[in-house]
């Protein structure tokens, strides 16, 4: 799931302060689940903005709408209603959603209210941790289902490094050493009977080094059977 955090209110206020009316557009999927940009958070943000602008004596109002996915441009175009007097859209979606909405409403400024942070999972209610960076060449089969790209601070493929101590990473904070977890899990799986494979240098062109990535599956779209 995509995890995002809200930008500081002051930064959002600075982005929208030149408009008299905006649409705060929530997104109903990932950012709803991580309690950052769903309908509830969009309404809360709208209220905060109206209050702040009212304190500054500026005429300002918000409309609020939430669409299931802001990253589906055709659905946004068909189902999001924007009043004619709306001067900008404040999106509480991830970066993909913001860009999709911006492409749909070419003439309206679209402003992000969130910082998209990572692809993560929740181990306990209210906590999300980074699990995947979308590197394009998954190695989880060799690393006991624990990603060294996302979870090792150095993105080591043959770890651990000398900074691993007591299962924790040397960087500040209570961060688990990914390679400690990998070795622990491999031991649980087969007692580390199989030798740890040496993972060769990777082809990073499948990550971001090859430029923006795209996936096409035209053969998976079936024509109507008539």
């Amino acid at each position: 799931m995509i995890v995002a955090e809200r930008k500081p209110l002051e930064e959002i206020i600075a982005s929208v302060s030149s408009y008299r009316k905006i649409l705060v557009l929530g997104c109903g999927t990932c950012v709803s689940v991580c309690l950052t940009g769903g309908d509830r958070e969009a309404r809360h943000l709208a209220r905060q903005l109206e209050l702040s602008m009212s304190e500054r004596g500026q005429p300002f109002s918000c409309e609020v709408a939430t669409i299931e996915r802001q990253c589906e441009g055709d659905i946004v175009q068909a189902y999001v209603r924007v009043s004619p007097d709306v001067e900008a859209i404040l999106s509480t979606a991830c970066g993909a959603g913001v860009q999709t909405v911006a492409a749909v409403y070419g003439s309206l400024p679209v402003i992000p209210a969130l910082n998209t942070t990572f692809l993560g999972a929740s181990d306990e209610p209210g906590t999300w941790e980074e699990r995947c960076v979308g590197c394009g060449d998954c190695v989880l089969a060799w690393t006991a289902g624990i990603c060294p790209v996302a979870r090792c601070s150095k993105q080591l493929f043959n770890g651990p490094c000398g900074g691993s101590s007591g299962g924790k990473c040397e960087i500040e904070g209570d961060v688990d050493c990914a390679w400690h977890l990998i070795l622990q899990r491999l031991t649980e799986i087969d007692g580390l009977k199989g030798s740890l494979p040496m993972i060769p240098p990777r082809d990073w062109s499948k990550e971001r080094a090859g430029g923006p990535r795209m996936m096409r599956k035209p053969d998976k779209v079936y024509a109507a059977s008539f």
Binding site: I67, E68, R69, E72, D74, I75, Y79, V221, A224, S225
Partner: protein, 134 residues
Amino acid sequence: MSFFKVNFNCNGCLACVHNCPSSALTFKDKDNRRTLLHNMSLCARCGNCWRVCPQDAIQFEGILDGQWQEVTSMDLVACKICGEPLYTVNYQDTLNQKIKNGGEALCPLHRKTLSLEAWAHFAGDTTPQRRAKT
């Protein structure tokens, strides 16, 4: 009631069924009739069905803005002084199981500001209730 709705343009071509990535749509042909079936618990609400429908038959707003469905219903316990609904009878039962004498049914206001008067009220003082001191 189905959240997935089609209009009269639907001709049963099954483009939606074949293109649903979540297998949330299927059909059955029986007694010379084709019936389209949708499973909301499988539906990812991705809009692929709506996108590929050659007949513009799918009314996707039914998926986006579906109606509330009643899940369950139970009796409420109200504040003994003002009648404000507090929690359900079932919740009170759970509370009483976990805490001996789970407490009287009083709203936060009356628990805080009118407790003595509340006790007087329970003790049989029939004088008219005074408003809570705030």
